[in-house]
Symmetry: D2
Subunit: 100 residues, 4 copies
Amino acid sequence: MARPDLLTDDELAAALEGLAGWQVEAGKLRREFHFADFSAAFGFMAASATVAEKLDHHPEWSNVYSTVVVELTTHDAGGLTELDVQLARRMSELAGSVAK
Amino acid sequence: MARPDLLTDDELAAALEGLAGWQVEAGKLRREFHFADFSAAFGFMAASATVAEKLDHHPEWSNVYSTVVVELTTHDAGGLTELDVQLARRMSELAGSVAK
Amino acid sequence: MARPDLLTDDELAAALEGLAGWQVEAGKLRREFHFADFSAAFGFMAASATVAEKLDHHPEWSNVYSTVVVELTTHDAGGLTELDVQLARRMSELAGSVAK
Amino acid sequence: MARPDLLTDDELAAALEGLAGWQVEAGKLRREFHFADFSAAFGFMAASATVAEKLDHHPEWSNVYSTVVVELTTHDAGGLTELDVQLARRMSELAGSVAK
């Protein structure tokens, strides 16, 4: 499927307003999630993994115990696109009620 | 490690009071969990899987889309024990905020 | 997306030749997977969950310790379709080297 | 439970002989795993997550598509212990047949 275009500055600014906790760092969309413990953190990762595979758009992420750090970018496009915003939104929803 | 003793009827009744949504059916502790979608359901399963392995006590469970049905029993003891109550409690906590 | 048509008897027979371990039972494609332990079994489930979500086609499956029983059908079509064959094939690949 | 003692240099050298692909970098036990795709990589992570929770010893790990980078250390002990060796060994086994 065709990859989406890079977001303009205005589009990105608008998207960030709806993405609490996410910010742009070094050109990537980044959020640090904190959970009650490792089990909750990993459950969030498993839920997110199914979404990432469905979107065919995968995070760069790391986990240490109850913390999950997520960085998103669209390599094919060389920056941030609607795909990153979609994945960020779904990850926030999945973490929503369990993130501290 | 030694497996716990069977719960007495009184102990079981007391435990059930603290386990909303769980009931005893055919000698097993059973609960049906409903989630927003498959991703949320599977995230719950992944979180629960880590807990089950830690307790060295594993559920009999099935999943169809957003529903997860869990049945617990302690085979070594031939019935319900404190292990089942512990696992049920942790699964309820993990599902807590995401179950509908 | 449009759901695929039901497989004809000939198409189903041809597909089953390439699906070692799977058989049709009560109109569903069914396979029982056996792994070394619970951790391996659950790893297989997590890998399969990402594939199922990508295909937007989800298994009816159950797990008890190291065993995973999978049943596939396409409810929208009222029987078996190419989607079931695709998911079965991918699950066999994912289990391939770890299933006993 | 009491945390194990730091491994001596000799014990660590002996352990590394049995841990193909692992090396010590900046005081941590490190291995980069490569899989066929994201689904296989995440399945490995899910299997490993259950083991980590059971050992009550969790990895520092990151994932990008089909690659999983794992770093192990025992923070309580200020270095490498038998726990790290155990987790490394189990992760290698779980990846064994699927890692390229």
